[in-house]
Amino acid sequence: MTDQQVLVKALPAEPPPIARPAAGRRPRFDRQRIAMLLFIAPAALLYALMMIVPSLQSIQLSLTNWDGISPTFQYVGLRNYEDILTADRFWNAVKNTLILGLGSALIVNVIALAVAMMLDKLHHAQGFFRTIVYLPALVSGFIAATIWKYVLNYNFGAVNSTLKSLGLDAQTRDWLGDHDIVIGVLLFIICFTLGGNTTLIYLANLQSVPQELVEAARIDGASRAQVFRYVTWPMLAGAVTVNMTLMMIAGWTIFDQIMVLTLGGPGFVSETMAFFIYKVGFGEYRAGYGSAAAVVLFVVVMATTVIANRYMRSREIQA
């Protein structure tokens, strides 16, 4: 008898597959599940009433000329959509939304990753610096924007006052009123406010990169840049997907900063899609038109998020 034959004999025979008795199958709605459903029912009901139903209703309203106040309205077919798609004001809002949404997503992710890598390398006072980085995220967008409004005020703001006291009068600007720079200023403020969460997500992922992989790469002679390119970066793919998706969604729906800082002005120059919807729906008594714009925004958000997510997910698989 060969060794192999002995080993085969010693192994126990594979047990036959046990068919699960039908009687033991868990019923679809046992008491525990019913209890769980009952617990979530109030929240689900409220969510449906407050979010799902109004969202669906806005599709209906987008086909009407409702002013948002009157009890009656007429159906106008696709006229609101035609008006929106042919309005320069709408396309300007789309452009701003893309700049602020994509721009803030890219800038915040790059800066947050760099900051997270620096924090990851810190051996002392990491908690302190982590807190400092996260602090702006603790302040609501509305409050942060209000503070920035005072800081950037043309006549009394800290920025221009400081520039003047340094003899740099020529560098003072109407930061929130100059139509050439206002979108850039808004982008800066949005990035400043939204960076904290993104940094923490990257930091958590950096700290979970297996050190044996990093050490193996170094032993194989990889430089720091190569370690980052071929080890760290692929391991962060999941975090990049999450951060980019969150940032893009936040970017598409930027509202409070615009509301506080510029009201879409001067003129219409800094309107975003979310602000445009609010302005026409509430300020101009065109709820039907505003609903149509909201439907378009929904389509844009869904399409861009799905496409971007698909791309980033494919990158995760390669990684």
């Binding site: 008491r31 525990q32 019913i34 209890a35 769980m36 009952l38 617990f39 029912a41 109030p42 929240a43 009901l45 409220l46 000329n65 002013d67 948002g68 106040i69 009157s70 009890p71 008006d83 950037l152 005020n153 043309y154 006549n155 009394f156 109407d174 930061w175 929130l176 009123g177 100059d178 139509h179 509301m259 506080v260 510029t262 009201l263 879409g264 002005g265 001067p266 003129g267 219409f268 120059v269 302005k279 509430f282 300020g283 101009e284 008594y285 065109r286």
Partner: protein, 449 residues
Amino acid sequence: MSTGTERPGANLSRRTVVKAGAAAAVAAPALAACGPSAGGAGGGKTLIRFLYATGDATWNEVVAAVTEAFNAQSDNVVVEPEPLPAGTDYATALKTVDATGNWPALVDMRDTVTYMEAGKIAPIPESVTALLSDEVYAPSEDGSVYIVPSTALNGEIGFNIVYDKDYFEANGLAVPTTYAEFIALLDAIKANGDVPLAMAAAEIWPSDQIWKPLAAPTFAEYSEGGGFWNAVEAGEATIADLREPMERLKTNTDDYALDGWQSTQDAQTSTLLVNGQAVMATSSAGLGRLNDIAKVDPDYNAGLFVIPADDGTINVLKNSVNGDTASGIAISKQAEEDGAQYDAAVEFLEYYFSVEACNLMEATGVVSPNIKQGAEVKRNDSIPGAADYFGLLENPKLVWYENAPTNPNHSTFQTFFRQSRIEMMDDQITIDELIEKSQGEFEKNMAEG
């Protein structure tokens, strides 16, 4: 047997858990409906809210003073002032309040016809209107009065230029009596190396403060036919007829306005004036602005004037007491449906138009509403510059004109027009482009109205 270390509730049966879940499901919506009620009673009294536009500090103080005095003397009602911050134009904020479906009993109203036709405001009883002078209120088509004035109906005489009297005296300058003199005044101040004019447009609506006086001569030409906007709707005028005031607006902005007007808020112009950063400032609060300035700097010697027309006429829009441009206090339909809230609102308005309340308003710094017992009200002429304000009302060059658009969509257009004008002032578009896009938007809005 309990060991004393079991988790609380660990021995609950599934039946108990299911029952608890069901109870929670039933109770949650009921709990959600709990909370402070706007119409609730406070100490046996009916509590009502008074929603008003915060603009100048003086108006805030007036509302606070009058409601406080009313609450102190009423046995049945407590009025709670609810300031609506002017983060954006008040009309937009009001629409947002409407969207919540939680109307206060008393509302500082704008776009009156729009809300009246939508059934959001209730008729005001004769017990209130009987206190007012006959010319300051009017019934609508259905015979009911829906709005009563919150202050004196002195039209848009509050849209004026506030200036530094001491500076004028020191430099031998005088209040202009024609538009040419106004431009000469701006040039003289500029030649001194000073900034002539502080303007505001951050909240969008303050941009009207310079626009309306400049456009007034053109608007006044159409007064007899019901106003300029009705003439444009009827095809008897076009927005191109406003080219000259648009050109003047552009000149005033480019050549004489303090930089940063695009992001300057209305209230900041008082500070700019008092700080000496500009010699004059636009305003729409009239006596209220003078009062604000006096509070900031009691020694500031302020005066005011209205930008005159070429021929020296001071064209001032008279108040519409019944159109979409009429503003004042209204009672909400929700209050009427409640009954008790409506009665409380009426009781407050009856006090609001009493001599006692009017004296309180005057003392706080606002010209009180025109009431039948107006002769008994003590006018406040102690505010620096107040004599200029009251002098305007007696000025022989003063001409009241009418401009009351009848199309309910006019509010929609005005919001667009205001922002488009700022685009032009800010060099984003030309005057030709402003005219073209405004005419197109006007026609579209009116057709839908």
